[in-house]
Symmetry: C3
Subunit: 280 residues, 3 copies
Amino acid sequence: MKPILVFQTDFTYKEGAVSAMYGVVKSVDRELEIIDGSHEIPQFDIWSASYRLWQSMRFWPEGTIFVSVVDPGVGTGRKACVAKTTDGYYVVTPDNGTLTHLKKEVGIISIREIDETINRLRGKNNEGVSVFHGRDLFGYCAARLASGIISFEQVGPDYLVENIVVLPIQEPFLKNGKVYGNFEINDPNFGNLWTNIPLSIFNQAGFVYGDHLRMVIRFNGGIVFDKTVLFHKSFGFASKGDVIIYNNELMRVAVAICQGNFSQVYSLEYGPEWEVDFSK
Amino acid sequence: MKPILVFQTDFTYKEGAVSAMYGVVKSVDRELEIIDGSHEIPQFDIWSASYRLWQSMRFWPEGTIFVSVVDPGVGTGRKACVAKTTDGYYVVTPDNGTLTHLKKEVGIISIREIDETINRLRGKNNEGVSVFHGRDLFGYCAARLASGIISFEQVGPDYLVENIVVLPIQEPFLKNGKVYGNFEINDPNFGNLWTNIPLSIFNQAGFVYGDHLRMVIRFNGGIVFDKTVLFHKSFGFASKGDVIIYNNELMRVAVAICQGNFSQVYSLEYGPEWEVDFSK
Amino acid sequence: MKPILVFQTDFTYKEGAVSAMYGVVKSVDRELEIIDGSHEIPQFDIWSASYRLWQSMRFWPEGTIFVSVVDPGVGTGRKACVAKTTDGYYVVTPDNGTLTHLKKEVGIISIREIDETINRLRGKNNEGVSVFHGRDLFGYCAARLASGIISFEQVGPDYLVENIVVLPIQEPFLKNGKVYGNFEINDPNFGNLWTNIPLSIFNQAGFVYGDHLRMVIRFNGGIVFDKTVLFHKSFGFASKGDVIIYNNELMRVAVAICQGNFSQVYSLEYGPEWEVDFSK
């Protein structure tokens, strides 16, 4: 079977862009299977695009082709590319930092710049358009790749994996019984915040489910939260409305309010400036 | 053909959860057809999850498998189950009240608890995860069932239908020419409110399209709306901005503002505390 | 292969309506392929529905069947129809202005009123329902057409293309070196505003990428914006936060703020009362 195409953008479904993009795919090959990853990545948020790819990719069949279009630099000099991961997935994307987590956590074994002279949609009164590469370039090229019309090699010339654009990633650590990290992403629907701390570091620190841990959160160095909070394996072990530290779906430490919105209630966000440490 | 999988959750598409869940399904069996029911059920709102299943189910082909994940108790003691309805559909869901309407309005003929030792996803660094049963348990088990890898009997041990967790449902009635009910759900997009009153009770009361009916709405017993309003078969029979009582898509009495938002304009919601009566 | 069905409505995914509608399609024919165009067309906004069809249609394979349900007059006298375009697409829709852009920009060669006596869903306790033609009429009829159960001729009686309901469309023009038009639609996600001015008129006026153009915006005749702004081929040529005039995905002139929301920042909307002119 031909590989599945999973799309991720910041376009939303509010207008006709996704429809046009998917129409291009189906015009290349009616048999191709298109699935929405998300069209609600926060606008221009390359970091989130990168994280969401990593979050979901390994649950898909090997060979699945991801198309990620969070592309504030569309029409400018940034490269349009197709990357191949060490575990056999493909990502069609602007090379603007979207490959950050995959490169670090999974590995990219090869990357090619899309040759616009052969892998760009033409003939739809769109030759002069520079603002919709999701439709004219990424969607079209991905469809040709999925369909077998072109091989990975025919995407365009390869370039060095070390030249892939990446955003800085912070590293968590354990020191003197205290675990240090930062909030690296959120669960925007439920308002949970996810740290960059693997559960394994909590294990090393001797923290176990049922413990009450002191959690200190800093924004640009200033303390914005300092409380002792239950650490457990799921939300339901806290009372409704209580803060809880838990092990998230990616085996990393996260924080929620049971049936509430932690991020909103405490006005907390994610990013390198949001540090957090845990101690007994 | 293998049964369709229709998914309903409160996850939204804002991050990578739905993508990971669907990836699991496709990794079990590439042929399976996945359709979004809704990923915008209000958070933790088991009542809405229950209602939406009943609202849409009978329009699908017999044998369709619904996966419903509104699951505030994930990782705690609540049962994970697969129910079979009297009319031949399946629902994969936490047994937390989500089966309320189907049990009452359609009937459940058999229910089985998912055996996690065989029907839980493994090998994706997710063995220690307790917060994402949509991906690791419900989605995975549903895919195995749809694919024919397991039979309904192989889901796990059955238990008594009478032990299914249900939420209380109120009953409408006719008394002395007046019809009593409550707002049991909304149309959150358009702001319409739907009562639990079947059109047949209006017929018994002698109310016909074109009548102007006195509608009294009470919140916790106090009157919050008392006006005489047109009853007709569709919105367009009222002038733009006017309130109208109509027969909704499920043959129940509902209230809207023509091209407006009834719920918002009058600050009305739904639930057992929102009573309504109609008289000529 | 059977034609694809692309759905566009103002229903959202917040409740069970889309699910019920798609269930009807799958109950007619399991093989049919359903793709979301958008379920977030602004409520009752027939103009947007019309525009979005035109925006995306030509990117789909010939023969694709679009189902558009923005239908404030549901259950009243407006016609339910299937239109065939000159380039071979079908649209199943209320004849309420939704065909405006297709009729003008593409051409309709034939239109038929849906015969409810044969192409309306029955037997689901829905005979008395007048408020959900998306499920009971448009979705059902479109599925029968896509499946080959009925031919286009069997939809129902044809009527004159000249009788199709259309909304007024404004025409842009060039006069004394100045280009006049209006904002005819938005990009609601990013806050860009799209004019009705084809790039070709800018070319005739001698405007080229890199020019700074005076842009005057009027609301009901009164000036609400008057600044000189860069005109270029994509957003990234402006600095973050700056206004930019660009050539949009449909080869029409549009206005954005680089990584910002032009519509929101300047409180601008679209419609016939929003005029704009450009000069050097």
